[in-house]
Symmetry: C2
């Protein structure tokens, strides 16, 4: 990966963006998809979980230049989501030459932490219906992650069956936080429904430490947003370990999982440790038949953003080699967050075949995507 | 670090073992150091917190060959600790040529999670007194980590002042789990007392997810011991971030912290991320004046065990270089755990000056140790 790259002669690459945060402008956007009682509850109480460290970088979590004083982010939009379809098409899709953008929302992480399971599931259904009508229908470059309430796995499976065959639906969202890690058998109806509908799982943090979820670390809550960011990888690694050691991939051999906004450099020591420990301890989990890192390489993919960038970029290249990054990484912009990655500046100094895998092919394989027929890159 | 090493001409190195688990054989060993009420309570209820995944490798957590059928580990000794002073002197100190062994116990992690703060603190005091009389007094190669109840920082400071001037006492134990991370100002009386007594902090997991502590991950408890091991590093990293971003090292510039049984390969991505994030977010924590990795390099040390060993050992060497391992790693055997490291087989293929730092000098600096006058290595 140390070849000199001829930047000028690069042709336009197909770009799949695996993590674009879409949302609604106003709570009332969801009213048409809710019962009268739930709409009134949503108007009055809103989303009843979801964490906030108050200060979270940028301008209310957004890049300063994305905040338009004439079209400001609504206060109730606490997801730091894009709330304007047209603006997103112009700035992100056209502006950054994105061929496919996976809309990750969302509401499911917060819903999965709510006390009232029925209200939570109703919000997920409403958000999915809203997203199909007001985002997916507006541009053929959008794909959707379905939001479900993971606290009710059978109910979640019903929601997956209700909308899973829509051609723009490519996966099902899980948060990282939960009462138990996501490899646990109590969640398996969700994976059965994913497999039945040919959908991947997308995992994205969002409501850790709120509602029914435990605190965000074994030492509770830190004081500052920057501290929270240092343990975010652990919210994913506990689930990576759970998926592998609970035997999820032996039970669901076609299941793929995309981990979003997790970064990936933490994966090298995790793979080392999982493999090393498995050699000494595997008699407790005899259904784990291969090296743990092998399951990861076959089933789990990682979005590139936010990259832990060392002072010396050659170290990152080395680490990407160690984890087999060309096969398991997928580009994500994380638009419209303050720390988003511009594809024009991401992993620039890497060879073409590597970039092709990261910018489109790995995501296309994981989420079984097909490019729009009029894609500029076709 | 890729020089060829002349193994045969190596002379005996000084070895400081920074993590040896000592304990008592029977609860009654602590009775002389407890009030009548507390002794009766201890006899009846024992330690009222402390986690167990049941199966935890080896034979009840010990290396099989260390379990002597004629002198079996007592059932009540759930710390997986060495319970026989003579046996430890012969097998570990003499057998492995250890010049100094830091006895890490312990009871403080479990005590710090107990509901009843007075009972918990009494157990810490009793354990410290027992350790001085029945371990430290038996061999001049032993050094002691004081056990304290971190739930009562002022009470903990009093215990540090009571015993901190004992020449064999070298540090103060904190667990990783807690209601809030350990950089928080509520714990600062502990660090004031450490500085006042010239003692380091030793951090070692032990009672995460039990008693007053939150569950061990943002997704609660996994099913299996091997899963727990994959997130153990996060119990340390949340505290590394807390110490740095709460400004503990600006407030206590002489404070040193030794993190034990944490491994260290997770530190490379953590350093990258802390530094990278600090550049974008430092206005929330303006008292953090240097690169976060700089504070780590100046103040925090990491025991080598358990090493995450990749298939290709050159990757580990590379990573050790990235984190400045020659200055921040300290050898630990983790005796008598099943996954202990024999010093004769640890980091063998590294140059002499590197090994000297790791096997003794870094620990001597961190814990302000002096070698016994009759040390074989003197």
């Amino acid at each position: 990966m140390n070849n000199v790259v001829d930047q000028k002669n690069r042709k336009k690459m197909t770009i799949v963006d695996t993590d674009v945060h879409h949302g609604y402008r106003s709570k009332s956007d969801l009213f048409p998809y809710l019962s009268k009682f739930n709409a009134e509850r949503f108007a009055e109480y809103g989303i009843e979980t979801g964490f906030s460290f108050g200060f979270n970088g940028g301008v209310r979590g957004r890049r300063a230049e994305l905040v338009d004083e004439n079209n400001p982010p609504p206060k109730e939009n606490f997801f730091t989501s894009a709330f304007d379809v047209e603006d997103t098409r112009v700035r992100l899709l056209d502006g950054s030459g994105i061929d496919l953008a996976i809309l990750t929302g969302g509401i499911g992480q917060a819903a999965s932490a709510m006390f009232d399971v029925d209200y939570a599931s109703a919000l997920c259904r409403a958000f999915n219906d809203f997203s199909l009508e007001h985002w997916i229908a507006k541009d053929e470059r959008f794909r959707l992650v379905l939001h479900i309430n993971s606290q009710d796995p059978n109910g979640a499976a019903a929601e997956i069956d209700r909308l899973g065959s829509h051609p723009a639906v490519c996966s099902v969202m899980l948060g990282c936080g939960a009462p138990r890690p996501f490899g646990h058998r109590l969640y398996h109806p969700i994976y059965e429904a994913c497999v039945r509908n040919g959908l991947a799982v997308a995992m994205h943090f969002g409501a850790e430490g709120t509602g029914v979820n435990p605190p965000i670390s074994a030492a509770g809550f830190p004081s500052h947003y920057i501290e929270m960011r240092q343990i975010r990888s652990s919210w994913y690694s506990v689930n990576v370990a759970s998926f592998v050691f609970e035997g999820v991939f032996e039970k669901f051999p076609s299941l793929k999982i995309g981990m979003l906004e997790a970064g990936f450099s933490w994966l090298a020591p995790l793979m080392w440790k999982m493999d090393f420990d498995w050699k000494g301890l595997r008699r407790q989990t005899p259904w784990v038949k291969k090296l743990p890192s092998q399951y990861i390489k076959e089933h789990i993919r990682f979005a590139t953003q936010p990259m832990e960038e060392p002072e010396d970029p050659s170290q990152l290249k080395q680490l990407i080699d160690w984890i087999g990054g060309s096969q398991i990484l997928m580009f994500a912009s994380d638009y419209p967050h303050w720390d988003w990655d511009d594809p024009a500046r991401t992993l620039v100094d890497y060879p073409e075949d590597f970039r092709r895998r990261i910018f489109s092919e790995n995501a296309i394989d994981t989420f079984r995507l097909s490019l729009p027929s009029i894609s500029k890159a076709a």
